[in-house]
């Protein structure tokens, strides 16, 4: 479910956060589903429970999960975390754009890429709609 990669430069708690976030985002965990307890995860991944606690706490602060005292941690309704996600994805996008420009790609080229992507996804959506009709 969550894979820890020891060659990854991210600290373990980040990897756990990313792993759970991904499971929430992709819908592998549905809203209000109970997450594995700290103890379950600590013993299945063989890592310190405090590390998992830290990952859960931060995910909670980011809005991906919520905790009910005595019952455990649960997956939040995704719509509520959209804003935060948008910001993070934008940052990633910016990083990728900067790197591409560094590799010699012009801003114009990037823009036309985005235009094409937008057109494709609109087209895709239109097609999707017709399929439904």
């Amino acid at each position: 479910m969550i894979n820890l990669n020891y060659r990854d430069s991210r600290p373990i708690y980040e990897q756990i956060k990313d792993g759970i976030r991904k499971l929430v985002m992709t819908g592998a965990f549905s809203p209000h589903e109970r997450l594995p307890s700290v103890r379950e995860l600590a013993s299945s991944l063989a890592i310190n429970p405090n590390t998992i606690q830290r990952a859960y706490k931060e995910l909670e602060a980011e809005g991906y999960i919520y905790t009910t005292a005595g019952k455990g941690s649960f997956v939040s309704d995704i719509s509520e975390v959209d804003a935060g996600r948008r910001e993070r994805q934008l940052k990633k996008f910016e990083e990728a754009a900067v790197e591409l420009m560094f590799l010699g790609m012009g801003a114009g080229e990037l823009k036309s890429r985005i235009d094409r992507l937008a057109k494709d996804s609109e087209g895709g959506r239109a097609q999707h709609d017709t399929n439904f009709d």
Binding site: R10, Y13, S44, I47
Partner: protein, 297 residues
């Protein structure tokens, strides 16, 4: 939970522990690391009441450990070199431990047979080193200890067993709040299981921190400066090296602080990566002149 205060131990003219102090809180997993001969096993032998100190205090739950059966009942220890009675089997040792440790859980012992699969009626001296470690571990867990002291615990265990053993310990820590002190050279593994580390060198403690503090307060930066620019003299990196145009810096401070500081140099490119425990170990000990020497043979 565990308090070591100004501990001094001399063997003849050799000072093995030199005014050593550290604390381990309840429910914490404390990793004791250090070069060979730093004194890790010597500290552990004080914590388990085997050695008597020349001066200083060794306390568990505010009580002296030495010759204190009340504390020792709550403490399980797996030494670096396992010792069992000559002809004994694992099961014989179980009966022996059951008689000594009031909390010994015989039901758990049977249950753990599922994990430690080899025949526990085989004499221990016929078992391989790794299997003896497994037996020692099985018995230690069944003591239901409040404090678990492990000296190179997974040395000699295969990868599956290592993970299995850590999984059982982590389960115990989150379930019962067991305090664990572990000495090891496998920093990669300690990084997963510990929340605190102490780095020892020459009988002293160089540094004691929580792992998250360590990781949040030091980082490695790789950057390329614009052509013709050089790094300001007083930039504050604790270590730096250059390879071509790429500068590698080790810097103290939070990630945000370091990012801002580096971004202000207008680098062509920069990347921030957290340090692994192994790197921290090497940099900290490099500071006291313990490092890999270049030698041609």
């Amino acid at each position: 939970m565990i308090e070591v205060k100004n501990l001094v131990k001399r063997f003849g003219g050799f000072t093995a522990l030199d005014n050593l102090s550290f604390n381990v809180e309840k429910g914490s997993v404390y990793g004791l690391v250090g070069p060979n001969g730093a004194g890790k096993s010597t500290v552990i032998r004080h914590l388990t009441g085997i050695y008597r100190q020349d001066s200083g205090e060794v306390l568990i739950d505010s009580q002296t450990v030495y010759e204190n059966p009340g504390i020792k009942q709550r403490l399980a220890y797996i030494p670096d070199e396992i010792f069992f009675f000559l002809q004994a089997t694992t099961r014989d040792m179980m009966h022996f431990y059951k008689g000594i440790y009031p909390r010994f859980d015989a039901k758990l012992y049977e249950k753990l047979g599922k994990v430690f699969e080899f025949d526990d009626k085989r004499p221990m001296r016929q078992l391989s080193k790794g299997m003896q470690k497994q037996s020692a571990f099985r018995l230690a867990v069944c003591m239901r200890p409040d404090i678990l002291i492990l000296d190179e615990p997974v040395d000699g265990l295969d990868p599956v067993m290592r993970r299995q053993v850590w999984s059982i310990i982590m389960n115990d820590v989150s379930d019962r709040g067991t305090t664990v002190l572990v000495s090891s050279h496998n920093l990669r593994e300690l990084e997963d299981v510990c929340d605190h580390v102490g780095i020892m060198h020459n009988g002293r403690l160089l540094l004691q921190r929580s792992l998250s503090e360590l990781q949040d307060n030091i980082a490695k930066v790789q950057l390329v400066l614009p052509e013709g620019n050089t790094l300001p003299e007083d930039f504050g990196a604790i270590h730096q090296s250059t390879s071509g145009r790429v500068l590698t810096l080790i810097m103290r401070g939070s990630n945000e602080y370091i990012s801002e500081k580096v971004a202000a140099l207008n680098p062509v490119f920069f990347d921030l990566v957290p340090l692994t425990l192994e790197e921290i170990f090497i940099y900290e000990l490099g500071g006291v002149d313990y490092e890999v020497r270049e030698i041609l043979l």
